[in-house]
Amino acid sequence: MSTLGKILLVLNLLIGGGFAFLAIQDWQGRQTIAGFGLRHILLVNGLPFGDRKGDEKTSELADPESMPTDPEAEIPFFVVGPGGKATTTVGPALLKEYFKTAGGAATEGLNLAVADPVPNQLAEVRRVFSLVKAHLENQPEGAGRAAAAFKLLELQAETLDERQQFQALLAAAKGDDLRDRLYARFERVLKAPEKADTSAIDAPADADEDPKKTEERLDKAGTLREGPTKDEGERRARLAHLLIHLDQSAGWQKRVLMVVGARRYARTVGAQTFRFAEMIVRVRQLTDDDQNKFVAEYATLRQLAIARTQRFLDVTDQERRKVAEESRDADTVKALETQLDDPTVGLKAQLAQVRADVSNLLAEQDLTERDLFNIQRVVAQTLDEIYRMEADLTNVERQRYSQKK
């Protein structure tokens, strides 16, 4: 090889090395730019939902349920970037960097707003669910648990009826019921939606369908329509709703925004704001209904009270008359008792007096009659003596004066 050939060889090798260096620099710069871009996308659209199943044919990995412990691990992370190019994996460092600012001040009792990274939205729900479970299970049963569960559940209500149910359960200190309702919300998000049998909604294949079958089909279709929508979109909306309304603290709201994305966050908060407005209208309507009910009941009671006042007047008048009658009767009884029993002028006293008089008169009469009888006997005896003596005198005189003649 000539000297020129050797020089060219060295130059070629140097140029090749420089090219490789520049290529590596470019790749690293592009990775950094892509990382920044990805964080922007995440901020707008949120983390991947976390329900992607693995595919053996395409070697696609399933979304993880939590952060891997290996700092060099490749985390499945499907996010579509510029030009439809998808990011399929990220390193834990990117997520750590993304969540670095997500921590916030601890709320009373339960601190959800931490800077711990999660690989997707469902993983965040799982993380929060385990914290909530631990928090609630540590609360004393009854009022303590009810208060803790209500604090997490209060803002979840989507209708006034639901909100009032929560308030009623809190008032009744039914902590377990409130806890179960909160858990159900988590489970509704975590559980993959089932594919509903929508054949009932479709037009019947048979034009001459049996009326009984038609009725059954329509009932089933009604139930399907009234039941919860089991699609992915609603599941995402429910997830955002659940996370946003667990805690009002600024730190937690920031973390939720980073998890679900600014778009979903704004949409969910807006939807709940609209629901709050509806609830306010309903509460005001109910307040008016309460007033109408009160006015009607008050008017009824007022009419009743007026009628009863009139009746009370009649009854008290009757009572007054009865009192007067009773008083008169009592006076009459006293007068009759006086008439009968008065010790001086009463009939019984008079009777006793007259009886005493009669007894005295009878005694006197007896004495008088005895006396009279004695006198009459003396008179009779005297008369007998007189008659005898007159007879003797007559005889004596007759004897004497007849001898003289």
């Binding site: 730019i33 707008v44 704001t273 009884v333 009968l340 009777l351 009878l362 008088t368 005297t382 005198l393």
Partner: protein, 229 residues
């Protein structure tokens, strides 16, 4: 030039062309993070995936989120305030209805505010009843009626009935005593008449006795003349 040199030149050429193709491919397929899409060219609602577009979207969504969050907080405060108003009014209704049932002054006049709501927190004048006094609660009045009826039925009427029974008994006794008294008075009168008669009879009999005694004495004296004792 040796065969090795020729081979190296050929390899270098291949490598150079390969590097140029690779560089061109990398450049053409670069992500458009820094591409500038003029405003209004992207379809409405479509987020341009570059730093500018994403920053704009982040800013817009952040503002929308902040506005929604502020409104959310305001609505929540309004909702809680509306609930508090309702609860307080329900308490007032309960108290007023309780008064309307049980209080001595049970009913009041209410004034309406601009929204048509009654001012139940500060009731107005008390409603007067047919008796001119403050209208009492309906249940209180019913209790008073019941108490009055109870007094009439369970106190006064039994007393009146007892008085009537006592009157009847006393009247029977009085009639009986009056009958006895009348009979006793008649008896006394008869006895008094009898006593009067007997007194006169006694005088007559005494006179008769005296007369008979005098006659006896007279006859005894006459017989004594004849020597008869």
């Amino acid at each position: 030039m040796t065969a090795i040199a020729k081979l190296l030149v050929f390899l270098t050429l291949i490598a150079g062309v390969g590097a140029a193709v690779f560089a061109a491919a990398v450049y053409t397929q670069r992500p458009g993070w820094f591409e500038d899409v003029p405003d209004g060219t992207a379809p409405r609602g479509h987020v341009v995936m570059n730093f500018k577009g994403l920053a704009r979207e982040t800013d817009a969504q952040g503002k929308a989120g902040a506005a929604a969050s502020a409104l959310w907080g305001q609505r929540l405060r309004d909702l809680r305030a509306a609930e508090v108003v309702r609860i307080e009014r329900q308490r007032s209704y309960s108290k007023l209805l309780a008064d309307a049932r049980t209080a001595d002054t049970g009913f009041f006049e209410f004034e309406e505010d601009e929204s048509g709501r009654l001012n139940v927190a500060t009731p107005g004048k008390a409603v007067k009843g047919p008796d001119g006094k403050n209208l009492s609660g309906a249940d209180t009045l019913e209790a008073r009626i019941a108490a009055s009826i109870d007094r009439v039925v369970n106190v006064l009427e039994p007393k009146i009935a007892a008085h009537r029974t006592a009157q009847q008994k006393l009247q029977v006794q009085i009639l009986d005593v009056q009958g006895k008294l009348t009979r006793q008075r008649t008896l006394r009168e008869d006895l008094q008449n009898e006593a009067s008669y007997l007194g006169a009879a006694r005088v007559n009999v005494s006179e008769q006795k005296d007369t008979a005694q005098r006659r006896l004495d007279q006859l005894a004296a006459r017989l004594a003349v004849f020597g008869i004792k």
